[in-house]
């Protein structure tokens, strides 16, 4: 089942307005950015100086740079997010197909569901399979909870 040219053009024509929208939105933001600098240049009111251009630190002289260490918990949250978000994205195909498979509507869907059931992929099997997948996620979640990753004190 390859992707023929007609299908590809059909899909592309669906996406064309989206591309136009993204180009328009980018254009508007870039226009605002350029216009700010042009207005700034034309008015020529800008005076530069060491004090004025220095980093704001509540009126004190800035101490050092900001490229420094930060709390490791933020890193832990990012790692956890990667794992959990990917697992949740993996559940999406199942969540879309599962109600259609267990309660098919229309002849075509009924035939499709029967075909899958005959091949061994019954709704019960799919529920059990996704249950195992989800249980792995849950074990990880409970482990992290017990290890105190979510404690911020």
């Amino acid at each position: 089942m390859g992707l023929n040219t007609y299908d590809f053009c059909l899909a592309a024509s669906d996406l064309l307005p989206l591309v136009v929208l993204i180009i328009c939105a980018t254009g508007i933001t870039l226009f605002i950015l350029v216009a700010t600098h042009v207005v700034d240049f034309l008015l020529k009111t800008s005076r530069k100086g060491d004090i004025k251009q220095s980093t704001y630190e509540s009126g004190m002289e800035p101490v050092g740079d900001t490229r420094r260490r930060f709390n490791v918990r933020f890193y832990m949250i990012a790692v956890l997010f990667l794992i959990f978000d990917v697992e949740i994205i993996f559940l999406y195909p199942w969540a879309v197909l599962y109600p259609r498979l267990s309660h098919p509507k229309g002849d075509e869907m009924v035939n499709w569901a029967r075909g899958l059931s005959d091949a061994g992929y019954t709704p019960g099997f799919l529920l059990a399979a996704i249950g195992v997948f989800f249980a792995l996620l849950l074990v990880g979640f409970i482990y992290e909870w017990r290890r105190g990753v979510f404690k911020w004190n």
Partner: protein
């Protein structure tokens, strides 16, 4: 006030009769222009509106401009509401009832000096507000504004969808765009090379990625009922059965609402720009129009977020007895659009009321609320809905009551567990000294 010309202009703009005349005359003028242009629409071959390629592009441009304009109106509304909440008048100087305030703000932003500090990462510093604004402007691409519409010049039974792009991965598009939105704020915090900005940015990153999980889980629960990722089909299902998904799944709606608040960095969750701790947060070093872009981005995000929430849980353009899937006339389209905009206005009002009534969370409360309250509720509810959808078809007849009952049971169980557990979600930290503040 020393210039008589300025005084004259101001007195005209303060007069409510002038505003009434503008409000009456402008629609009349628009109607006359449309009536004069009517012969142009009558020829189907020459008509750009009946072309399936051009119509979504027109929708895209119109919606882009109207969202940009309505952000300005939103800012005025927010300031007015803040005024009423705090028992003052709010902006009332520019124009009648302060109606020209957004314009004055925009002008002021444009002519303010644009300061770029010495030690910033200059390309990233300029890129960050652009990313924020662009991302919040493209989020509304999949929203079915007014369903399908049939114009008089089209062949019988032929309709066009009032949607920018009818994506078959609509809901995934929402999640993807929401994820890119993190970059703008994090890059702003990193590129500013300022400690306040950096902490604001890193807090925002942790908050926004954490709250994507409850959002994803809530959407999964919804998907198990509707079985499609296309937003227009989700809205059509709700319109056909007349049961909005908020009645089928109230708890996922609450999860989704909380996540939208957190993703838009609105008040109870605006730790990344907490004024009392971090000055301006991630936009401390920004000035002039670059700051305004963050502002516009936040309000556009709010509008898009409420529009998505309405499409998923509140039936989109559907209102009982007023709109239906079958009625595709152009006047029905206008009614549907009106219903949609009214719902968005209610949601934005809700966002603003919450902002001016509820105090900000502490960061550990925020993280615990997400990981120890919303995510477990989402997981339990997903398992329950999965089992329930194996037993019965949730779209059939009165079966949605079973789903509602499951929601209520899960809520009661979770609340009972939270009441029994020793550490509360939003309360004090465990190792804090116990201070008795009661009068003796």
């Amino acid at each position: 006030m020393w210039d008589p010309a300025v005084k004259r202009v101001e007195s005209i703009l303060r007069n409510w009769r002038v505003w009434l005349a503008v409000i009456v005359v402008l629609p009349v003028l628009a109607a006359v222009v449309l009536w004069l242009a009517l012969p142009l629409y009558k020829d189907p071959a020459a008509n750009i509106l009946s072309n399936p390629i051009w119509f979504p592009i027109i929708v895209a441009v119109v919606m882009l401009l109207s969202i940009l304009t309505s952000t300005a109106v939103c800012i005025l509304a927010e300031r007015k509401l803040a005024g009423f909440t705090q028992d003052r008048k709010g902006p009332n100087r520019v124009g009648f009832w302060g109606l020209l305030q957004p314009m004055a703000d925009g002008m002021k932003f444009f002519f303010k000096e644009d300061i770029i500090p010495h030690n910033v990462d200059k390309p990233l510093f300029m890129l960050a507000p652009c990313i924020t604004l662009t991302i919040s402007l493209i989020g509304f691409a999949i929203i079915p504004w007014a369903g399908d519409v049939h114009f008089d010049w089209m062949a019988a039974g032929e309709t066009v969808s009032t949607q920018v792009a009818s994506l078959n991965i609509g809901i995934l598009y929402i999640l993807a765009v929401g994820s890119i939105g993190v970059y703008g704020i994090v890059l702003a915090g990193y590129a500013s090379n300022n400690k306040y900005s950096f902490y604001g940015g890193i807090r925002a990153a942790a908050q926004m990625i954490s709250y994507e999980l409850p959002m994803g889980l809530a959407l999964l629960c919804l998907l198990l009922v509707c079985g499609t990722l296309r937003l227009e089909e989700i809205v059509n299902q709700q319109a056909q059965t007349g049961v909005w998904y908020v009645f089928v799944h109230p708890l996922p709606f609450l999860l989704f609402l909380t996540s939208v608040f957190a993703e838009a960095n609105r008040m109870p969750f605006d730790l990344c720009e907490a004024e009392q701790e971090l000055v301006g947060g991630f936009h401390t070093e920004y000035s002039s129009m670059k700051f305004a872009m963050f502002f516009l981005g936040e309000y556009a995000h709010m509008i898009t977020g409420s529009a998505i929430m309405i499409a998923l849980f509140f039936g989109g353009w559907h209102c009982w007895g007023l709109t239906s899937v079958e009625n595709t006339a152009w006047w029905a389209m206008l009614i549907k659009l009106g219903v949609y905009i009214a719902k968005i206005a209610i949601f934005i009002w809700f966002f603003m009321v919450i902002r001016w009534t509820i105090p900000r969370f502490r960061f550990d409360q925020l993280m615990r609320l997400c990981w120890l309250a919303l995510v477990p509720v989402g997981i339990v509810l997903l398992i329950a809905t999965g089992v329930l959808s194996a037993v019965m078809d949730l779209q059939d007849g009165w079966n949605w009551l079973a789903s509602l009952a499951v929601n209520v049971v899960v809520l009661i169980i979770m609340l009972a567990y939270a009441a029994r557990s020793k550490t509360s979600i939003t309360g004090r930290q465990g190792n804090m000294p116990d201070v008795d503040v009661r009068p003796t």
